[in-house]
Amino acid sequence: MEYFIQQLLNGLTLGSIYGLVAIGYTMVYGIIGMINFAHGDIFMLGGFAALIVFLILTSFFAGIPVALALLVMLVVAMLVTSLWNWTIERVAYRPLRGSFRLAPLITAIGMSIVLSNFIQVTQGPRNKPVPPLVNDVFHFGSITVSLKQILIVIVTSVLLAAFWYIVNKTPLGRAQRATEQDRKMAALLGVDVDRTISITFVMGAALAAVAGTMYLMYYGVASFNDGFIPGVKAFTAAVLGGIGSLPGAVLGGLLIGLIESLWSAYFSIAYKDVATFAILAFVLIFKPTGILGRPEVEKV
């Protein structure tokens, strides 16, 4: 039982990270109907930004409080990835908006290849280990909860709440939802569609940067290759939850995290990704629009 709870906690932590990345996928998909394949690499960029900031901070201010260091890492990573995603949207996606559906998909895949190889070229192909930032561990009976895990879950929850507020209660969120429903109509009604889409990319990137920082803190290592697998899993999470649906992305993320950790714990670690993908295929076959996705009505 304790073992189960332990795995549940691990899954929850991992799932929070996936959920944060999944939101970026789902938002962009919702607003411009495009799979932003490069989003996983934005997540990776976020992790690298956090890593570099961490190195700089610790070499200048050796005794810096962990909380402050983390905060600086988060803020800088969010800023830098936002810049990147904003630029990418401007340069690579916007000119293709409204064109052939596959063209933005291919540019996004191209962008993903560019980003991961850019980091490989500039930062080297090897894994970058960082000393553990947060070491504290709490014991509840035989269950171990690390401060890292608590931090990850708390940061995720806070961000989700903030995010939910933005999308549902602010004019910006209203503009986003309007653009999502009908871009032309929104533009006619005075919504600055370009700006709204840009902000969506920026928000997605900021959340991915947080996820990247958390990922770095959790695993203590960054690599140029880190974008792909977590990216695909986060995308899987978004689709599993019902792409376009924000609660769906979080739910999907948590589910994927749980499936992964429970499967590794009880069955085989080697096949954990097979289990994830198989469950995705299985869910979609029976519910083709994901768990919380709106059913697609076939208009005849």
Partner: protein, 465 residues
């Protein structure tokens, strides 16, 4: 984009100021983007601890390129492009010029002759041993991708079903050949069709559950299936050899008459009293893959003119209309999956025979992405466009391996190979930005009453499934 098309041909006043402003902005943006990743180098010191140092010079180069590049684009490139477009419009020239040159008209014949003569010409230029690199890296490598892309074209380009896991069928073909030749000692010529049939069978198995899915859901599930197959190949070590893969895969022979195994009595080089070289095998393989490509092209062209091919294209255009015309969309989709997978299977078994080694490393998602990119860059549905895209993209990146002279420019540490995928990705983005419908955007009709007019890409759809 829209705010620069001033109708006047002379330089608009304020353009320079605007260009300067935008250049400056680009520079600042680049500084923010590159400061951490380019400006800071992280490396492990002797104690294996991660440390950092600044690379101000490199950062300055990046920022300068961004700023100057943006300035030049806004100040000169864009006005001149606009002017050219305007002049064209004034002259009343259509985008498509009707009279095609000699090269255009006889493109296929010329291409065929060049391909058939390629190995002998290379051998006569570089000698038998020297031809190896050209025949193998450029010839065979490119043709494998041509074949794969033509196979995927059936699924994506014709039927409009977005498949992100095509590499799975390539893997099925490769492992079928490797395992069956290993365990049963069957020859390449027996296993080639078998691998195709097995892959087609897998195409149907994987196709069945995803039939109801549309668009991006289909894309993600096919991606998932591709990954599942790779992960199983990687982890089912008893059968597949796990990450290490299977080595010592049997070579193909010239229909069992001559062999390319060094020790064999009917060795090709021995039989013709030629000096021993692995180049003969590669030249032979070049013709094999060329033949396979031609078969793929022939079958695709024939299928397009048959009811099934037309049904695929109709499916891409409008699935509901297809059903209203009595077309069984389930079997139509499945045949597209199966035929596409079959070509992937052929290519896979050829790949295994060529490498003599298969491992899951060769069948990662990136491969699927590259193949899909070639299909889209070439222009969906167009065999010629796809072949051109394969030559440009694969040939271009292979060429980079050969750029040894760059070492003299950038210093001996410079490894051009590192930049291979970076440039590949950039090329994908750039080509899409300038040609969103690929190199060949139009489609050739499959039947005509009076004259064959190609259909502009703006009418064709890209499918929903």
């Amino acid at each position: 984009m829209s705010n620069a098309n001033s109708p006047a041909t002379d330089v608009a006043p304020g353009l320079m100021a605007k260009a300067l402003r935008e250049g400056l902005f680009a520079g600042v943006l680049a500084f923010g983007m590159f400061l951490l990743y380019v400006g800071v180098e992280t490396y492990q010191n002797i104690d294996n601890a991660l440390v950092w140092r600044m690379r101000w010079g490199l950062l300055a180069v990046f920022v300068a390129i961004a700023a100057v590049g943006r300035f030049l684009v806004v100040a000169f490139l864009r006005p001149s492009l606009d002017r050219r477009k305007l002049n064209k419009a004034k002259a009343g020239l259509l985008d498509v010029s009707e009279d095609k040159g000699f090269f255009h008209k006889h493109f296929l014949k010329i291409a065929m002759i060049v391909l058939v003569l390629y190995p002998p010409v290379i051998v006569s230029l570089y000698g038998v041993q020297g031809s190896l690199k050209f025949v193998d890296n450029f010839g065979i490598q490119i043709l494998i991708y041509v074949m794969l892309a033509w196979g995927l074209n059936v699924v994506v380009g014709l039927a409009g079903l977005l498949d992100l896991g095509y590499v799975a069928f390539y893997a099925v073909g490769a492992y079928s050949y490797a395992l069956l030749s290993d365990h049963f000692g069957l020859s390449f010529w027996v296993l080639l069709p078998m691998a195709g049939i097995l892959a087609a069978f897998w195409g149907i198995i994987l196709g069945f559950p995803v039939l109801r899915l549309r668009g991006d859901y289909l894309a993600i599930v096919t991606l998932a299936f591709g990954e599942i197959i790779r992960l199983v190949l990687m982890n089912w070590a008893e059968v597949t050899g796990g990450t290490a893969g299977i080595s010592g895969v049997a070579k193909a022979s010239i229909f069992g008459i001559w062999s390319f195994d060094v020790g064999a009595s009917n060795n090709f080089a021995k039989a013709f009293a030629l000096p021993m070289s692995s180049a003969y095998y590669k030249i032979f393989l070049f013709y094999v893959i060329l033949a396979l490509c031609l078969i793929t092209a022939y079958v695709t062209i024939r299928l397009r003119r048959m009811p099934i091919g037309r049904a695929w294209e109709a499916l891409r255009e409008d699935e509901i209309a297809c059903r209203s015309l009595g077309i069984n969309t389930v079997t139509t989709k499945l045949t597209a999956f199966a035929i596409g997978a079959m070509f992937g299977g052929f290519a896979g078994s050829f790949f295994a025979a060529r490498q003599g080694f298969v491992s899951p490393e060769s069948f990662v998602f990136l491969e699927s992405a590259v193949i899909l990119a070639i299909v889209v860059l070439g222009g969906m549905g167009s065999l010629t466009g796809i072949a051109v895209a394969a030559v440009v993209m694969i040939g271009g990146t292979e060429l980079l391996r050969e750029m040894e002279f760059l070492k003299h420019v950038f210093g001996p540490d410079f490894t051009p190979e590192l930049y291979r995928m970076l440039l590949f990705g950039l090329a994908m983005v750039v080509v899409m930005l300038f040609k969103p419908r690929g190199f060949v955007g139009s489609r050739e009709p499959t039947a005509f009453l009076k004259e064959r007019k190609s259909v502009s890409g703006s009418f064709t759809k890209e499918g929903h499934g």
